[in-house]
Symmetry: C2
Subunit: 205 residues, 2 copies
Amino acid sequence: MKIPSPSIPRISLYYRVLLSLKDKDIISSQELSELTGCSAAQVRKDLAYFGQFGRPGSGYNVEVLKTELKNILGIDKDWDVALIGAGNLGSALLAYKGFRGQGFNIKYVFDNDRKKIGKLKQGIKVRDILELKKATKQIGINLAVVAVPQEAAQEVIDELVLSGIKAILNFAPIRPRVSEDIKVLNIDLSTELERLSYFLQRRKV
Amino acid sequence: MKIPSPSIPRISLYYRVLLSLKDKDIISSQELSELTGCSAAQVRKDLAYFGQFGRPGSGYNVEVLKTELKNILGIDKDWDVALIGAGNLGSALLAYKGFRGQGFNIKYVFDNDRKKIGKLKQGIKVRDILELKKATKQIGINLAVVAVPQEAAQEVIDELVLSGIKAILNFAPIRPRVSEDIKVLNIDLSTELERLSYFLQRRKV
């Protein structure tokens, strides 16, 4: 069955809400709706894509649902992540402990800056980006975070794809071209801030 | 005229491409198309919303267009930003110099942790979140970045709105409820990573 892609971030949202619950064994779609802001019908529909988790009228077992959602999201195990770019943003992402808490371990860092290569960042040795292909093949990782400048991003992403990386979280402000079997998600912090400044600007006109 | 909201991130994208150009006076919508991945018709349409920047067949003057796009995005001036939450993510965002480069200056940091209040983070004093309302009113800022845990986020955002903040970049994994005159953009790094692990997981099945 084809799962609509907006369901996935909602599954993450339900999972996070369940994590925050204390001393609760059963939860209804209505309660999940109130806690997430999604409609109860939407909650039921999203969960039904992945199987029959609750019984009509009796709600969902919190522990069972938590485990199932974890499996669905692929976070029942840890993922090793390669970070490309040890500049300002890359360093900030390395220092951010939230990824690790979610089971995403940035284990490898690559850069092309001679001054950074070989140095430790947050306890991880920065490797030469020229070793990317060899290293990722040896390591067998599938997931990479790209935090390089705009000009370098497409080239780095091409290189990642050649190295066998299948999923990329890209922070560079470009819309990379990749083949259909590769998943790229783009997060552009500056663009988001500019959407806000645009809004503030227009408000005042 | 009502500008469709997906145009704005594209305007940011065009602007960024223009910034990266060297020794180029004139650019055609076709060239902008190739550099951004948006269609030439889309480029012309987006720019036409904001006025007549180019002459048909002769392309756009790069310097003029740059200035105009900057004005449109509201980044012809700097914006003072308040950061709420001096934890892992907040500290990473504070250390990230990209915001400043774009004219977004995180000038104020608030937290509710007694151990952090009064200390300096990246040269900025962490203030007590209880002073938020008073401080933001005095300071007259409009823009805030929220990097607090999920449980605290809605309360913090309500407080920001009461303090007169109009635009919020929210990193907490919730979908905050705000009134219509407030703009909130949500960035949830863990959810993005989970979309990738979901994809990788399904790939293997």
